[in-house]
Amino acid sequence: MAVVRFALVALLWCGTTYGQSLIVQTSKPQQTVSAEDLSIPFYAGADYALTIDLKTTSTISVFGVPPEIEWCLFARRPNWAPNESQIKLTPDISTFHASPLGGIDKSLTPASLDAGIEMLPVLSGYGEVQSVLIDWSLTGASVLIDYGLQDKSIQWRLINRGCPP
């Protein structure tokens, strides 16, 4: 009986040794938008550029996923006001080096995150990924809106299935 119990515990243990992990390291999370970011920098009569490139980047790492398993990385920004500008996340696939352990889908388009609870696909792949950069930019900003200081968060979610088309 003790042997059977040990075997069951052991089986459960070896089934959980493949714990999946998602690591997101975000650099330069504090950014300033100024007259430099107008559609013509420092030009009276101009509004903000359609896309403001932020110096913020996120490095994504996925571990503990077997090579044959597809995954999709989603993101959403909860607790944002509806009139706030969009955050655009663009995977920089040139920073990724494929390996036998995993890869990424290079056909994805950048994801623009509106306010809301909906998760949007950002990156899809399979297996393990050591690191891939995601560039941040700001879209839809207007000088007419008083944004003030925006202290916000983004939730990332890794799910074991391909991204929706």
Binding site: C14, I69, D146, R157, L158
Partner: protein, 177 residues
């Protein structure tokens, strides 16, 4: 069953069953990123062109008053961008940078406020003190982006001829809040 047999059996079981377990295993992993974006106040103003020339027509005959019709300089175009960040009420002022030696009226004609709220105060007589020619206000702080206006400068008839001389005169346009 000896421990050696148990160990062997365990390793075989793991190697056989792990892929099946993992393949059928769903996973959802969450992470969070926190960041901060600070929008700095922006206040820019621009006048184009930066130089205009006005020719004063002399009287046709002796004893006739000068500048019956006045003279005009311009038009200028005034552009400005003022972001909503940093205040709720602001205004545009104009002033003479130095002595003019003449009476000059300034007005914003053909005012075209592209976005926001800008109220034109009407023509004014230029002086060395900054005078408000337009204000922005409202329940929101975002006002007066891309205001485009013609700024015409005209002299009043009957000015003292003795004070007139050819020269360059400067007008300051300021945007304040």
């Amino acid at each position: 069953m000896s421990m050696k047999k148990i160990s062997t059996w365990f390793i075989k079981a793991c190697s056989l069953l792990s892929p099946a377990l993992v393949s059928g295993q769903g996973f959802v992993v969450d992470q969070w990123s926190v960041f901060e974006v600070d929008f700095e106040p922006i206040a820019l103003i621009r006048v184009e062109p930066d130089l205009v020339v006005s020719k004063v027509v002399g009287p046709q005959e002796a004893g006739t008053g000068v500048l019956i019709k006045g003279a005009q300089a311009g038009p200028f175009e005034v552009f400005f961008t003022r972001s909503s960040t940093g205040g709720t009420v602001g205004g545009m002022t104009v002033s003479a940078a130095g002595p003019l030696g003449m009476v000059v009226e300034v007005e914003l004609a053909n005012l075209n406020v592209v976005q926001g709220n800008f109220t034109y105060s009407g023509p004014l007589t230029l002086s060395s003190s900054p005078l408000p020619i337009g204000t922005s206000s409202g329940g929101y702080t975002g006002v007066a982006n891309g205001v485009l206006a013609d700024l015409s400068v005209s002299t009043s008839p009957g000015s003292s001829y003795s004070q007139w001389s050819a020269g360059t005169h400067n007008i300051d346009v300021q945007w304040q809040w």
